[in-house]
Each structure stands twice: as structure tokens, then as C-alpha cells.
């Protein structure tokens, strides 16, 4: 059983308007690699050229932020839910 990835509205133009994508991946880094291979327009939206997740993007595995686990090395199990959450912010 694959991992389910939640694609937020701001990134759906890169996924053909898909809000959820199922993928097989062993960890979060591999999952992002596969996402970016399948949906090439995602490149640069989630990670920078060095492969680091942008500071304004948060990634959760189930309900836990990956920075509280092993970052991009966070292991994934079948049935996990991964959510990519870009910041929603502003100010005067």
C-alpha cells in the first residue's frame, strides 16, 4: 500500500489539479524525488536547488512535522499520510 500525499492548492497547478497523490517511497526525501519526477513543475516549489525544503514549506507525516523527526530522512510506512503545507502569511 503506498503513501498518500496531500498537495495543497498553491501547488496543484503543478499536479494537474490533483489534491492527493499516491506514491511508493521509503522516506520523505525519496518521496519528493519521485513527486518531482512525476510532476516536474513541482521542482523549486517545495525544495531549493540544494534539495533543502524551503523555510516557508512545512511537511508533516501523519500529524508530525518532519523537523521533529528525521527531516528528509524520515521513514515512511505503507498507509502514511504526508502533507505538504506552504506558509499562509502576510501583514501590513
Amino acid at each position: 500500500m503506498p503513501v498518500t500525499v496531500y498537495i495543497p492548492t498553491p501547488f496543484r497547478r503543478a499536479t494537474g489539479n490533483r489534491g492527493r497523490v499516491d506514491l511508493e517511497a521509503g522516506d520523505v526525501g525519496q518521496l519528493l524525488d519521485r513527486l518531482e519526477t512525476t510532476y516536474t513543475d513541482l521542482k523549486g516549489l517545495v525544495r531549493n536547488e540544494q534539495g533543502d525544503v524551503h523555510p516557508h514549506v512545512n511537511i508533516y507525516v501523519n500529524n508530525e512535522a518532519i523537523e521533529d523527526r528525521d527531516g528528509l530522512g524520515t521513514r515512511l510506512r505503507d498507509g502514511d499520510e504526508v502533507a505538504i503545507i506552504p506558509a499562509l502569511a502576510g501583514g501590513r
Binding site: 496531500y6 495543497p8 492548492t9 498553491p10 501547488f11 497547478r13 489534491g19 492527493r20 523549486g44 516549489l45 523555510p55 512545512n58 508533516y60 500529524n63 512535522a65 502533507a83 503545507i85 506552504p86 506558509a87 499562509l88 502569511a89 502576510g90 501583514g91 501590513r92
Partner: protein, 159 residues
């Protein structure tokens, strides 16, 4: 319709309660069903942890708690969409600032092209105004749209 009168009252109440901090939240909709979701502004936490990267505090900026966005994402999975993203300006007007505009774009495209942004102004703890903005694809910019409602009158008799 951008807001119902009850939704406007909820947004104004939230803005006044958070003053002098900025309030923030969304309204999600599924058909005729609508829900106001008040979110936590974690800008003070970010500023406290790293004032260089986050020079503003919650008096002049908002940053919705990603956990709230996670919850909202789950609602999207249940068929809701984000109809309104709202926040307040404390001791400033109800306008769409350069910061608001910059943060509402992802690589020069609107992050939420079908969503209305609502800004409430609160000065000295009292609501002063409300304004709404939507992406104008032809102009490639956000443009003001008519909220169509007056601010609710407070118990003291003035907005």
C-alpha cells in the same frame, strides 16, 4: 456574496479580540455549507525564536499555524474549498499590503486564485473598516472587490 453578516461579525470580533495582534483565519465552503475557522497566528513564536529571519511580530504580521492548515487541508479532502482567507491590520488601514501581495503569490502566480482575501482594520481596539481583494487575471494583480456589507455596530454604538 463574499461574506454573510454573521461571518463579518465573527471576523470583526476575532480582529478586536486579537488586537493589538493580527488575527487570521479562513472560511471554507462546501456547497451551501460554510465554516469560519479561526487560526492561530504564530508570528510571535517565529519572531521569538529567530528575530533575524522573522523581524516582525504579530502586531504587524500573521503566519497561520501550519497545524491549522493541516486541519484545513483535511477539510479540503472532505469536499470543502477555501472561500476566504482573512486577517486584520492593527492600527493600520484595511488594504492589501505589499507583504500581503508578496505572500499570496507562488512564483508570480496566485497561491489561491479563486479565494477572496479579507482584511479588517482595527485602531485603538475598535474596528474601523473591512475590505476584500481577489486576483484579477487580466491585470495580473489583486484588485479590491465590494464586500457589500457595513461593519457591525458595536454595543457602544459605533464601529
Amino acid at each position: 456574496m463574499i461574506l454573510t453578516p454573521d461571518e463579518l461579525a465573527a471576523l470583526v470580533e476575532h480582529a478586536v479580540r486579537e488586537y493589538p495582534r493580527e488575527s487570521c483565519g479562513v472560511i471554507v465552503a462546501r456547497g451551501d455549507e460554510r465554516r469560519v475557522i479561526r487560526c492561530r497566528n504564530i508570528q510571535d513564536d517565529l519572531h521569538g525564536r529567530d528575530p533575524v529571519r522573522h523581524p516582525r511580530d504579530a502586531r504587524t504580521a500573521y503566519y497561520i499555524d501550519p497545524l491549522d492548515l493541516l486541519r484545513i487541508g483535511r477539510l479540503e479532502g472532505e469536499g470543502f474549498s477555501i472561500a476566504v482567507i482573512y486577517h486584520s491590520h492593527a492600527d493600520a488601514g484595511a488594504y492589501f499590503s505589499e507583504t500581503d501581495r508578496a505572500r499570496a503569490l507562488v512564483v508570480d502566480e496566485p497561491a489561491y486564485p479563486d479565494t477572496t482575501y479579507v482584511v479588517t482594520s482595527v485602531r485603538a481596539g475598535r474596528p474601523e473598516g473591512v475590505a476584500a481583494f481577489r486576483w484579477d487575471a487580466a491585470a495580473r494583480d489583486f484588485a479590491a472587490v465590494d464586500v457589500g456589507l457595513a461593519l457591525p455596530v458595536t454595543p457602544e454604538g459605533c464601529p
